[in-house]
């Protein structure tokens, strides 16, 4: 290579460096500006009244109590439904169903399901949960819908976590006289717990931001009763935000921004917990 060539390469190197830097910075910058403008606009609205009030026709007396509780209900119900099923399915596929035709079939379908647009889940759920099973437009219908949506994520991340448990851990368990089931339950699952938990939290945090499927199954846009039972009508934060944004009054826009801050805060906290758990597990468990 001659000198000229080297100079050109050095220039290419530099250009690429700056290009990468600008892309990164502009990405972060856009996000920062977005967060900043939301916080500026909505921050003053975040007072006690806002958290404890029912919806209202007057923006200044409206609050997010109903959708906030709805979101919390949905989070809990979805976890209760999706996590046991997802983990059980992952254990079956990863530990028992190896190379059998049925498991292969399921596996391909799970991969496909993860790519289905969420509104399709809503349509499916409307037919099955709301109409056929007669659960109505309830919290339970909503949680079942979101459970369907996140099941593939839970299954895939649990399988990854199970796969990452080293063979030596299983061997240690078998060599002490454990059966396959005891080995999975007492040695593999505890070793994979960090990874599984991380996946579950990320899935839940995805679920609480979903709007479309819940709109389809008929979550309420305007509801004035606090949900106290899984079969109650409900609303959730993203739907409340959507609702307020479509109103003409300036005050409702402000309410919407404040609600966005709350929703973002919940998501960030969940993701933060997930990252914390992952780091903690990685530093504790060195194979």
């Amino acid at each position: 290579m001659n000198n000229h060539q080297i100079t050109i390469n050095r220039w290419k190197d530099k250009i690429f460096y700056w290009y990468g830097l600008i892309c990164t910075v502009s990405g972060v910058l856009i996000l920062a500006v977005f967060l900043y403008s939301i916080i500026i606009e909505g921050w003053d609205r975040l007072n006690w009244q806002f958290f404890t009030s029912l919806p209202s026709r007057r923006p200044s007396s409206a609050g997010i109590l109903v959708p906030l509780l709805g979101t919390l209900w949905i989070m809990i119900l979805t976890t209760i439904i999706a996590v046991p099923i997802g983990i059980a399915a992952a254990i079956y596929l990863e530990e028992y169903g190896k190379k059998n035709k049925f498991a292969e079939f399921i596996e391909v379908n799970i991969a496909n399901l993860a790519g289905v647009p969420s509104i399709i889940y809503g349509l499916l759920a409307l037919e099955i949960f709301v109409r056929i099973m007669g659960l109505g437009r309830s919290l339970l219908s909503g949680a079942l819908t979101l459970s369907l949506l996140i099941l593939p994520i839970v299954i895939v991340s649990t399988r990854e976590a199970l796969k990452s448990v080293p063979k030596t851990i299983r061997e240690a368990s078998y060599a002490l006289g454990a059966t396959k089931w005891k080995t999975i339950w007492n040695a593999v699952l505890p070793s994979a717990a960090g990874g599984i938990l991380t996946g579950v939290i990320l899935a839940i945090s995805r679920a609480i931001g979903e709007t479309a499927p819940l709109v389809v199954i008929g979550a309420m846009l305007y509801i004035t009763t606090i949900p106290t039972h899984p079969l109650d009508d409900f609303s959730v934060l993203p739907i409340q935000i959507y609702n307020w944004l479509s109103r003409p009054q300036k005050g409702f826009i402000e309410n919407a921004t404040a609600a966005i801050i709350v929703l973002l805060a919940i998501t960030f906290i969940l993701n933060g917990i997930a990252i914390y758990l992952r780091n903690k597990w990685q530093s504790k468990v060195k194979w």
Partner: protein, 251 residues
């Protein structure tokens, strides 16, 4: 005296790969037997026959007979889990569970449904005493075993194996991942354990075989070439191949 372990004309195949060739050998109770031989000669495979750890390998196929306490361990009536309780195993790399020291030791008992705290406490103390680490760890029994040094971890793994009261302990290069001082403590431990257990140890370290074992088996390409009193085998090998291997003139 009746042999503890009897192997009769054992052959092992991985698919079409014939890796153990017609091996017959006996191991007496409370004897320490070392397996030596070049890499890939089948030492681990043979060792893992004795607690049926090869059963997990799909292409594994075995012919012949292995008796432990006069029972054919590959008989279909044998419960593998019971066999593995009787024939414990220590691995090359220390492999504690990511649990506390205490939970590591009692793992084998808990899976049998034994949860009596007094009994478990006594087993933990007894086995940690046996492996000579009780004083070092007695104040941190509920801390993670992963935080210990490699040598300590390996002794925890041995204690864990002893907790289910085996009568045979298999060790596959148990010191190859350890420093010389930890190695010496483990060798000392093997010497102590021999009073209560029958021990089979795979090692690449000829001095180690010389120090810890009563008899030594030399494997080469799946065949048992020579099996004799350890001192005899190292000072006066009968087969030229053995002679070449132990003096390091090989190939």
């Amino acid at each position: 005296m009746q042999a503890k372990i009897i192997s009769k004309n054992v052959n092992v195949y991985y698919g079409t790969n014939h890796v153990i060739k017609n091996v017959s050998l006996d191991i007496m109770p409370n004897e320490v037997v070392a397996f030596i031989g070049p890499s890939g000669c089948g030492k681990s495979t043979f060792l893992r026959l004795l607690n049926r750890m090869n059963d997990f390998i799909e292409s594994f196929k075995m012919e012949g007979e292995i008796l432990i306490d006069n029972e054919d361990i590959y008989d279909s009536k044998i419960k593998v889990e019971e066999l593995r309780k009787k024939v414990g195993m220590v691995f090359q790399k220390p492999n504690p569970f990511p649990k506390s020291i205490y939970e590591n030791i009692v793992y084998g008992l808990r899976i049998q449904g034994i949860n009596d705290k007094k009994y478990l406490d006594s087993v933990v103390e007894k086995t940690l005493q046996q492996v000579g680490i009780w004083n070092e760890v007695k104040d941190k029994l509920h801390q993670s075993a992963m935080a210990l040094s490699g040598g300590q971890q390996q002794r925890i793994c041995i204690a864990r194996t002893l907790a289910v009261e085996p009568s045979v302990v298999l060790m596959d290069e148990p010191t190859s991942a350890l420093d010389p001082i930890s190695t010496a403590t483990i060798e000392e431990l093997i010497y102590q354990l021999k009073k209560q257990y029958t021990i089979v140890i795979v090692t690449h370290n000829m001095q180690q075989a010389g120090r810890v074992s009563d008899r030594t088996a030399f494997f080469y390409m799946g065949e048992l070439i020579e099996y004799n009193d350890t001192r005899e085998l190292f000072t006066n090998p009968k087969v030229e191949l053995t002679q070449k291997y132990i003096t390091g003139r090989f190939g």
